[in-house]
Amino acid sequence: MRFDLTLALVDRPGQLLKALEPIAKNGGNIISIIHEREKTAGVYVPVSLVADFPTYENYRKARDDLESLGVNVIKSEEVIERANITAILIGKLDFKRIVETKMRGLRIVDFEVSAPTSREACIRLNMEVPVELVDEAVMELKKIAREENAILVSSI
C-alpha cells in the first residue's frame, strides 16, 4: 500500500534521519522524498515523501511512532493507482441510470452521447477506477449492458 505523507520537521541537522527511522522500522519502503525548503514556515520545513507499507497496520504504527517522536504529520493519505477505462454502450439506453451509476471507486471523467432518442443510441464513457477494481468495473458494466439490453464495447 502506497502512502503520501507530508511531515513538518524542525530545520535542524539530523531531523530527517530521526523521522525516517519509524518508517523503516515498520517496513516502509521510501519511493520519493522532497525537502521543500522554499516552503519553510518559521523553524519548520515541510518534507513530502511517498512510501510503500506492507499493510495498513504498518503504516498506522509508523504514523503513531512519528507522532510520539514529536514529528508533526501535516498530511497523510493513501495513494490509489487509477486506471482509465473507456467504453461505449449501444442500445435504447437510460442515460441517467448509466451516468449516475454507483460503482465502487469509479468516477466518470466525461461522456459523449450520440443519437440519444433512437433505439440505437450510444454513449461513450471515460472512467477512472482504482487499478485493482478494473475487472470488477468491467463486470458491472457488462451487467448494466445486460439489464439495459445494450451492447457493451469496452477497451482492450
Binding site: 467504453a87 459523449e112 443510441a121 461513450r124 451492447i151 477497451s155 482492450i156
Partner: protein, 334 residues
C-alpha cells in the same frame, strides 16, 4: 513419404497446385515424396505410385482424372487401404460434431498416419482426444492452418516461446468482420451495407452468421485455449457477442476518441469474443481482411503477429506443417 489429401475444395485444390509448384523444394527434403490419393464428396483418386501433379493441378473435381477415379469411393475407405504416411484433412468445417473430418483424423491416427489439418471442426469438438490419440500412436498432429490462416501461431508458440509462460492471447481472428468494421470506420457506412459488400466480394461464409455473430472467432479462441494454454474448454465456455449491433454512430464515437471497434477474441482466465475498442496506435489495430494476434508472456512480454487469416494464404501453413513432418521423419530415418 506418401501423402493423401482428403477434401478437394478451396484448400485441397490450392494445396495440390502449390505442391506442384514447389515439388522441387519438397523433393530436396524427401526424394520419394508423392501424392498418392485425393478425395472429395464424389469419390477418390488413388495411385500407390503417385498421382500426376500437373494433371491434378488442372482438374476441378476428382472425376476429371477419369482413369484413376473411383466413383462413390469413400475417403475413409481410401485412408484405410492407402498405406499413406501423411494425411491432409481439408473437408468443410462442421463445428456441431466435427464430421466427417473427425472420423478421417481418428482413423488416420489410429493407423499411424501423421495428420495435417486446416479444418477447425474436429479440433473444436475433440482437440484433447485427438492430441492424446496422436501421442499414443507416436504420430504428428499439426493444425497451423486452423487459426489465423497463414500466421505461424502454433509454430511461434512451440518453437520460439518454449520457455515463456503465456498469460493472455487476444486478437482479430476473423477477416470478414474486420473487413466490415474497417469499411464502417473509414467510410462511415452502416453494418448492413458493409456486410453486403463483403458478401459481394465472396469473403463471407455461406451463412454470414458464422462470421458476424463471432462463431468462427469463438472456434479459434477455443482452439488457442486448448492447444496453447492447455485448457479443456468447450465451445459453450466462450462468451460470445458478435458485431450485428454495432452502429455507424458507435464507430464514429469511438473514432473521435482515437479508437477503432474490432471483434476481438481473448484467451486469459476467461474465453471471450466481443467487439472491443482498440486504440488506433495499438498493434492489433489492423484493417481490411487482416488478422492480428497479440501474445502477452512473462519473458518476451508482448508479441504481435499480423497476416491473412483465410484464403489461399492458408496453404502456406498447411505446406509448412507437411514440410516439418517430412523433415522430422526423414531425419529420424537417417
Amino acid at each position: 513419404m506418401r501423402l493423401l489429401v482428403i477434401g478437394f475444395g478451396f484448400i485441397g485444390e490450392n494445396l495440390i497446385k502449390t505442391i506442384h509448384q514447389k515439388v522441387e523444394l519438397i523433393k530436396q527434403i524427401d526424394g520419394d515424396f508423392k501424392v498418392i490419393g485425393v478425395s472429395d464428396s464424389k469419390g477418390y483418386l488413388f495411385d500407390a505410385d503417385g498421382l500426376d501433379l500437373e494433371r491434378l493441378s488442372s482438374i476441378k473435381g476428382t472425376s476429371d482424372y477419369s482413369e484413376r477415379f473411383l466413383k462413390g469411393g469413400s475417403s475413409l475407405e481410401m485412408i484405410e487401404k492407402s498405406g499413406a504416411d501423411i494425411m491432409v484433412e481439408a473437408t468443410p468445417t462442421n463445428i456441431r460434431d466435427g464430421e466427417p473430418g473427425l472420423t478421417h483424423i481418428r482413423t488416420a491416427l489410429t493407423l499411424g498416419i501423421d495428420v495435417v489439418t486446416a479444418n477447425k471442426g474436429p479440433l473444436v469438438v475433440a482437440f484433447r482426444n485427438l492430441r492424446n490419440l496422436a501421442e499414443a500412436k507416436g504420430c504428428e498432429f499439426r493444425y497451423e492452418g486452423t487459426v489465423a490462416g497463414a500466421m505461424p501461431v502454433f509454430s511461434l508458440v512451440n518453437e520460439c516461446l518454449q520457455g515463456d509462460r503465456i498469460s493472455k492471447i487476444s486478437g482479430i481472428l476473423n477477416g470478414t468482420t474486420n473487413f466490415i468494421l474497417s469499411k464502417m470506420y473509414f467510410e462511415g457506412t452502416s453494418f448492413e451495407i458493409a456486410l453486403k459488400e463483403a458478401q459481394e466480394r465472396g469473403i463471407t461464409e455461406r451463412d454470414p452468421a458464422y462470421d458476424v455473430d463471432g462463431v468462427d472467432a469463438a472456434c479459434k479462441v477455443l482452439i488457442l485455449a486448448n492447444a496453447v494454454m492447455d485448457r479443456d474448454a468447450k465451445f459453450e465456455d466462450v462468451e460470445r457477442v458478435g458485431i450485428r449491433g454495432i452502429t455507424s454512430e458507435a464507430v464514429s464515437l469511438a473514432k473521435r476518441s482515437n479508437y477503432a471497434i474490432k471483434l476481438i477474441g481473448t484467451v486469459d482466465k476467461n474465453l471471450e469474443v466481443a467487439p472491443k475498442l482498440v486504440p488506433v496506435n495499438h498493434p492489433l489495430c489492423v484493417h481490411g481482411t487482416l488478422n492480428a494476434l497479440h501474445f502477452e508472456t512473462d519473458l518476451a512480454k508482448e508479441l504481435t503477429l499480423v497476416g491473412y487469416g483465410a484464403g489461399k494464404e492458408t496453404v502456406s501453413a498447411v505446406l509448412n506443417d507437411i514440410i516439418s513432418i517430412l523433415k522430422k521423419k526423414t531425419r529420424s530415418m537417417q
